[in-house]
């Protein structure tokens, strides 16, 4: 497949690996966080870690959309289906995220909730058109990549006068989350990870461009290299990060120039700004309340805002005590540090949200990395 296969070539990967080996300073450790779940998946699936020098460690970040969704938000969607009788449409991954009382959207469906999986926000509109006598709510989650399609759906519903359609908006913002990882007060509770830089997300950056990371890189003196989603992109980005660290630079660089520029997709940003405004604070699973990190709908679109339409409030719910997702999302723990990883908690029966989507750190490690742990443990 054009522009995909070329970026997975094993020989070139090994050569980038040799270059990395030659350039790392053996007297120091490097810790880089890949923010985005897509990169977590690529690193696990293609064994990128095995090609990196021993003193370069990749740390998973909180960029997996379903992993950061707190229990209380899923509970709201379940209430809309069970108590308000609405048809709730959502992306597939969201269905299995554990909620309160042993429920998930999937289990709520088994209890009679009309919950439907959709491939895009536009499909939810179709459901609303086809069911004019029912309330249809789109449970909208994700980063800046899924937000513009949600905005388009709302604008279209307004144009068409679709009065039975609304959106439970849970869209979150990338730059706020990256900043939070470095400065939150909870960092002391979990301990800090030495982070020397960030691999910036691919899809998100297509939409927002590279400019939004610039204040962050300057203020926290941390390099950011935006990388495409293929394994070679990630390796090249790590090489660029190593070079920045060695040279004492903290800049925003772009490895993914084939799809990302400094400004991003201006049309998409405009649609987002038209429909959404900043929430003062939003709770993230694992990160707690993060100021200015999520979007809500502007008052002009109140009619399409499920939170106002059904007057449902958000209440925080604590995660399962055994689950280490919070520490994992901050990069201070690894999936194998969790006592119930792979035993009680599996992709078939996830206890925490990191085990749900293939982009989650626990699920990615379960699928691709867990057999490698065995010899490591034996030799330890």
């Amino acid at each position: 497949m054009k522009y995909i296969d070329e970026f997975r070539d094993g020989d070139i990967a090994r050569r980038i690996a040799e270059r990395l080996q030659a350039e790392v300073d053996p007297s120091r450790q490097y810790g880089f966080m890949e923010f985005c779940g897509g990169h977590t998946h690529a690193i696990s699936r293609y064994g990128v870690n095995d090609l990196l020098p021993a003193n370069v460690r990749m740390i998973h970040g909180p960029g997996c959309p379903v992993c950061v969704l707190p229990i209380g938000r899923i509970d709201m969607a379940i209430r809309l289906a069970l108590d308000h009788g609405a048809i709730v449409c959502t992306y597939g991954d969201t269905l299995r995220v554990p909620a309160s009382g042993g429920l998930s959207l999937m289990r709520a469906k088994a209890r009679g909730g009309d919950i439907r999986m959709v491939y895009s926000a536009a499909d939810a509109l179709t459901v609303a058109r086809d069911n004019p006598q029912r309330e249809v709510v789109f449970f909208a989650i994700g980063f800046e990549t899924t937000t513009p399609p949600t905005a388009l759906a709302i604008l279209r519903a307004q144009r068409e006068g679709l009065n039975n359609f609304s959106v439970l908006c849970c869209h979150v913002l990338t730059p706020a989350a990256i900043t939070h990882i470095l400065e939150s007060p909870e960092v002391s509770r979990y301990g800090t990870v030495p982070l020397d830089g960030f691999v910036g997300p691919a899809h998100v950056s297509i939409v927002i461009g590279s400019a939004p990371y610039e204040p962050f890189a300057a203020a926290y003196r941390k390099p950011v290299v935006i990388a495409g989603f293929e394994p070679l992109d990630v390796m090249q980005a790590v090489l660029m990060l190593v070079r920045q660290v060695n040279e004492g630079r903290a800049e925003v660089e772009n490895e993914f120039t084939r799809a990302v520029d400094r400004q991003g997709n201006a049309g998409a940003q405009h649609k987002m700004a038209q429909v959404f405004a900043m929430r003062p604070a939003f709770e993230w699973r694992g990160l707690g309340e993060v100021p200015h990190s999520a979007l809500c709908m502007r008052p002009e679109f109140a009619q399409f805002d499920a939170e106002r339409r059904f007057d449902i409030g958000y209440s925080a719910v604590a995660d399962n005590k055994a689950c280490e997702c919070g520490a994992i999302l901050r990069g201070v723990k690894k999936p194998t540090d969790c006592r119930i990883f792979g035993t009680v908690c599996t992709p078939e029966n996830p206890v925490g949200s990191c085990m749900v989507s293939s982009e989650g750190a626990c699920a990615a490690h379960y699928a691709y990395g867990r057999f490698k742990d065995i010899p490591v443990r034996a030799s330890a």
Partner: protein, 70 residues
């Protein structure tokens, strides 16, 4: 992208599979362009020149390694 349709819809092909998507967020996309698709929407385009340049960068590095190792 293999076909542009009404109402800002388009047909894309990936590895032999064809799928209808929205190009409302990338109105400049034309048949033959490579678009990046996420949740049923094209969100950006691939610049072929930049793709070649990035690949060449990987390649150049390979040369440098070959040159450096006797």
């Amino acid at each position: 992208m293999v076909e542009l349709r009404d109402d800002e819809q388009a047909l894309v092909e990936l590895g032999g599979l064809r799928k209808a998507i929205s190009v409302e967020l990338v109105p400049e996309a034309r048949v033959g362009d490579y678009v990046i698709v996420h949740v049923g929407h094209a969100i950006g385009m691939v610049d072929p020149d930049e793709a070649e340049r990035t690949l060449a960068l990987f390649g150049e590095m390979a040369e440098a390694v070959k040159g450096a190792t006797p």
